[in-house]
């Protein structure tokens, strides 16, 4: 093995000097949450960097719903799953249909609808939340899962349509023409040619919509309020209402809540990085 030159060693040292602060900065809040989750109550409040007696007792309390704040944990977990799943499925359906129509069928007015969608994408979500809350009240959907599902579909689909349109513009027109020559109907082209070819983008968009819905706090907390209707993030926020909140249980619940999206993200990272970042900002 050849010894590194002084210049190479200096370069390496510089990289490490950047890498260590980046690592610490990234991990601190997550590590802090993890330490809380495995600390018994006495250790949690003593500011130790590692608990004297690490335990999984907190997880047991959460899973068995043995605390006032956690009495509906599984119902709320289920609500989060149902809503995220429904938003993912509906967004995929609506956005794929719209992107196919705009990009492949070149329907009149498609470009205009695309611009509407882009405009929606750029309205800050917290601004739309205020009139959305009132509108859901008028539609009589407040405290109903459909309110959150429809709101999240509204927020997720513009970006979904845009990414899918960009991806489907890249498919050669000859494919559709060949299929038409073979006598395929529009629906057959959609089902047998378009959807299979778009699979990687569809996976990315489905994941995007599911994560967006699972992570949403603001809309969930405005649109749902009944304890058995709310999703997990709202339940986490409700911990703050009391002065003597059991922080170690809050952090444990938060840790459990954070695991599925992190797992989904890493499982689909291949698709996410290619499908989403390329579409996010076109230079």
């Amino acid at each position: 093995m050849k010894l590194p030159t002084l210049r190479e060693a200096g370069n390496e040292a510089r990289l490490i000097l950047i890498g260590i602060p980046v690592f610490i900065w990234t991990m601190i809040p997550i590590y802090h949450m993890f330490v809380f989750a495995i600390s018994p109550k006495e250790d949690a409040f003593s500011g130790k960097l590692w608990p004297d007696h690490p335990t999984l007792h907190n997880f047991e309390i959460v899973f068995r719903q043995q605390h006032y704040f956690l009495r509906d944990f599984w119902v709320q977990f289920g609500n989060s799953v149902i809503i995220a799943g429904a938003v993912g499925a509906l967004t995929l359906l609506i956005a794929t249909a719209a992107a196919f129509s705009i990009s492949r069928l070149r329907v009149p007015g498609g470009r205009m609808v695309m611009n509407f969608a882009l405009f929606t994408y750029f309205i800050p979500a917290a601004f739309l939340a205020v009139p959305m809350y009132r509108t859901m009240g008028i539609y009589g959907l407040l405290n109903n899962h459909w309110a959150l599902i429809l709101a999240m579909v509204t927020i997720a689909s513009p970006y979904a349509i845009w990414v899918l349109k960009q991806a489907s513009d890249k498919l050669p027109v000859e494919l559709d023409e060949a299929a038409i020559m073979d006598g395929a109907t529009t629906l057959q082209i959609f089902r047998l040619v378009y959807v299979p070819l778009m699979m990687p983008s569809l996976v990315a968009i489905g994941t995007y919509a599911v994560l967006l819905a699972w992570n949403e706090y603001l809309y969930a907390f405005l649109l749902l309020s009944n304890d058995r209707e709310i999703t997990l993030p709202v339940a986490l926020g409700n911990f703050l209402a009391a002065d003597d909140s059991p922080w170690e249980l809050l952090m444990t619940t938060g840790f459990i809540y954070a695991l599925p999206p992190a797992a989904v993200y890493y499982a689909f990272r291949r698709y996410m990085v290619g499908g989403l970042t390329a579409g996010a900002v076109k230079s």
Binding site: I94, A98, P124, L218
Partner: protein
């Protein structure tokens, strides 16, 4: 350039006859999104604007000191917070573009803040900064024997912390995008520059920056639009406190909504429009090319 209109003498045939079957399908497939758009964007926005029509709400708004403070906080958040974040992202994109195994592993971890939901991590930071039991002040006490500051009770510090949380959360995303921009630059350019003996700064100034500046500016503007809607970083960390001094426009709108002052909530959002609409216009021009 002259425009000639086609002369149509014959009465136009009914719509269904003029459209090819594929076009009918096109309209049908586009309809679901269009309905969602009408019901959940057009109607709420129109209704909201109608609620914000009275000049009285604007007068009330401008007499509310919290609104002025929120507007200033929002500007600080956007101008200082976002630019700082994007500069760090630009710097780190160079770091992560280096080919090393350990940097590859670090980049996998680095994505975590963006991959995990923001609620638990922001609450984790909030408790870390708790003056009595938080880990930060416990450590300060252990090493110096003095009580640490009451972090979230000072508006300037609390806002800085909220900006910090925002940067923590969204830095990975923007770094990732800037890395793809950097990797798209042809490697030959850097090799040629090395042969010519260019310094690190010269390589950045004459190769990296010119090929990345459009991307960088687009990212900055997009990040500004999204940050205007960043409710979580402020609301979950400070709740707008102490004494409603750390609100930004997005949390202020929700605050008015919770107080049942809907017309004030809408008016405060309308007041943000001069800031939002030019950014949106610019981004739409850029993205719908």
């Amino acid at each position: 350039m002259s425009i000639t209109l086609p002369v149509t003498d014959a009465p136009s045939p009914p719509l269904s006859a003029r459209l090819a079957p594929s076009q009918v399908w096109g309209l049908l497939l586009l309809a679901p999104y269009f309905l969602v758009f009408l019901a959940f964007v057009v109607y709420p926005v129109g209704y909201g604007l109608w609620l914000a029509r009275q000049p009285a709400s604007y007068v009330a708004l401008f007499h509310d000191p919290i609104f002025a403070r929120a507007a200033i906080n929002t500007l600080i958040f956007l101008l200082i917070g976002i630019n700082l974040k994007m500069l760090i992202a630009l710097f780190l994109s160079g770091f992560f573009a280096e080919q090393r195994t350990w940097i590859k592993w670090l980049s996998v971890l680095f994505i975590l803040p963006w991959a995990v939901p923001s609620i638990p991590t922001i609450l984790s930071v909030r408790f870390m900064l708790n003056p009595e039991w938080g880990m930060v002040n416990q450590l300060i006490f252990k090493f110096t024997g003095e009580d640490g500051p009451n972090w979230l009770n000072d508006p300037a510090v609390a806002l800085t912390m909220a900006i910090g949380v925002h940067i923590w959360k969204s830095l990975p995303f923007w770094t990732l995008i800037l890395i793809t921009g950097r990797l798209a630059i042809s490697h030959d350019l850097f090799e040629a520059a090395d042969v010519d003996g260019a310094s690190w700064w010269q390589k950045f100034r004459y190769i990296t920056w010119p090929s990345m500046q459009t991307l960088y500016i687009t990212c900055t503007l997009l990040s500004m639009i999204w940050t205007l809607g960043d409710f979580n970083s402020v609301y979950l960390l400070t709740g707008g406190g102490p004494a409603d001094l750390t609100h930004v426009l997005s949390t202020l709108g929700i605050r008015y909504l919770r107080l049942d002052q809907l017309s004030l909530a809408m008016a405060s959002i309308v007041c943000a429009m001069p800031l939002v609409l030019p950014l949106v216009y610019f981004m739409m021009k850029r993205l719908s090319r």
